[in-house]
Symmetry: C2
Amino acid sequence: MAAQQARSFSARQFSCEKCPLRPLKVFREFEKEELAFVSKFKKGELAVDKGATVLVEGNHSAHLYTVLSGWGFRYKLMSDGRRQILNYLMPGDLIGLQGSLMGEMQHSVEALSPLLLCMFERDQLHELYRNYPGLAYDITWIASREEQMLDENLLSVGRRTALERAAYLIAFIGSRAKTVGLNGKQAIEIPITQQHIADTLGLSLVHTNKTLRKLMDRELIIWRDGGCEILDVDGLMRLARWEGLSEVLRPLV
Amino acid sequence: MAAQQARSFSARQFSCEKCPLRPLKVFREFEKEELAFVSKFKKGELAVDKGATVLVEGNHSAHLYTVLSGWGFRYKLMSDGRRQILNYLMPGDLIGLQGSLMGEMQHSVEALSPLLLCMFERDQLHELYRNYPGLAYDITWIASREEQMLDENLLSVGRRTALERAAYLIAFIGSRAKTVGLNGKQAIEIPITQQHIADTLGLSLVHTNKTLRKLMDRELIIWRDGGCEILDVDGLMRLARWEGLSEVLRPLV
DNA sequence: CGACAAGTTGACGCACGTCAAGGCCGGTGG
DNA sequence: CCACCGGCCTTGACGTGCGTCAACTTGTCG
């Protein structure tokens, strides 16, 4: 429970025009004006330590963030401590939209690795909607994509067996990571503990461990020093009966 | 598996200005201009029979709908027939936003009762974003609310026991129904079968039945002729450790 | 050196799933 | 009119997937 709040704020080091993410081919091109506005919209960067909490359920956040680099996750807690991880966050993902729109966060966000965030001010969201309909559309698009991922996660937790669930989750994270170029040197390594997986799948830690072992025995993944490496994405997808991500151009705000 | 496609299209019978939903106090007031645009945006009404399929996973839908009256649900199927119900739809809810934004529907929608829908054309969504930022904001808001509901459902399926899950689900549906004035004569009756509940909770039909019996024995609900009536919402919420819906003004498109 | 976080493994129990049978009811056709 | 059927709910018996408990390992950091 070392829920540190370690953060550090800094002025921008990455200008939006030279955003390291934007060249990725998953992201759609922006108009010059849009880019200029986003650049103005951006108020700075926030560096968050691994394991630190970015946003807390119940709080009102004045900010909206985009992940510039690193991994994180969204989760909810029950009063007796049960935790459900809702989704993972990686570069290009938006954080805190719910809070910005509806006032109060209904989930928390924690960093899985050192996390670098672009910070935006909630108040300017209205200006964005007023003057940049294309960006507004993009934000809705992003919200809709999150919903789509949640749908699939819900299907998984509700209807897949433990083995299928684990296979799905790892294939899912791996696929997402790949689209944003997170493959270290060929293979993708996911900075996650088995406890995280358990809390995502709705399983106990022990049973998660035994399930992952089966995946390892089948040579679909290997687990090593606090992370997971995928050996055979297609095998995982077949096992989980999962079709994969739809490959479409995404907006990046 | 009588997945009929029974629908009937008709010109509008309800003008947006006299929308029976809008007077409800959960919905925020609209500007005159917004209302005028929505009215122009609306292309007619669609009546769907109970049990009929409104939208099918994998299809490209040219339309966007708002529920005017009746109940429905969103769900996903796996290739071997396992079904996961994702959420329920009631008056004021938007249908088909994912399809309109991202091209392809990733879930299906079915009517639980006779359903009356307002129909909008996807192509005009861009115009809406260009000229009515307030409405655009509202649509994002609605998408965000859906995400919030999914978060809670995921927590439920992942981390609550069968009894808690059932209690949560019924309290959740009942609360939502109440905010849109769906209480028949005092009590709320939910037009749903136990199979639906099972497919929502990620449980088997048999175990769902036994779980509901426990709720009945505790006098929290009663089950009758193809529906569920809530006796004690607070009791259900306490049992599920659920805080309830946040009570905020919603937009209605 | 101890302390702690993360992973591993076996033993055992329970909350679920599965199978099977039957009841109730409305609809349909003889 | 009854006979039959299919949808929905109900209940018991039994099996199993997963949870819980507990002990041990390994690596890391002080």
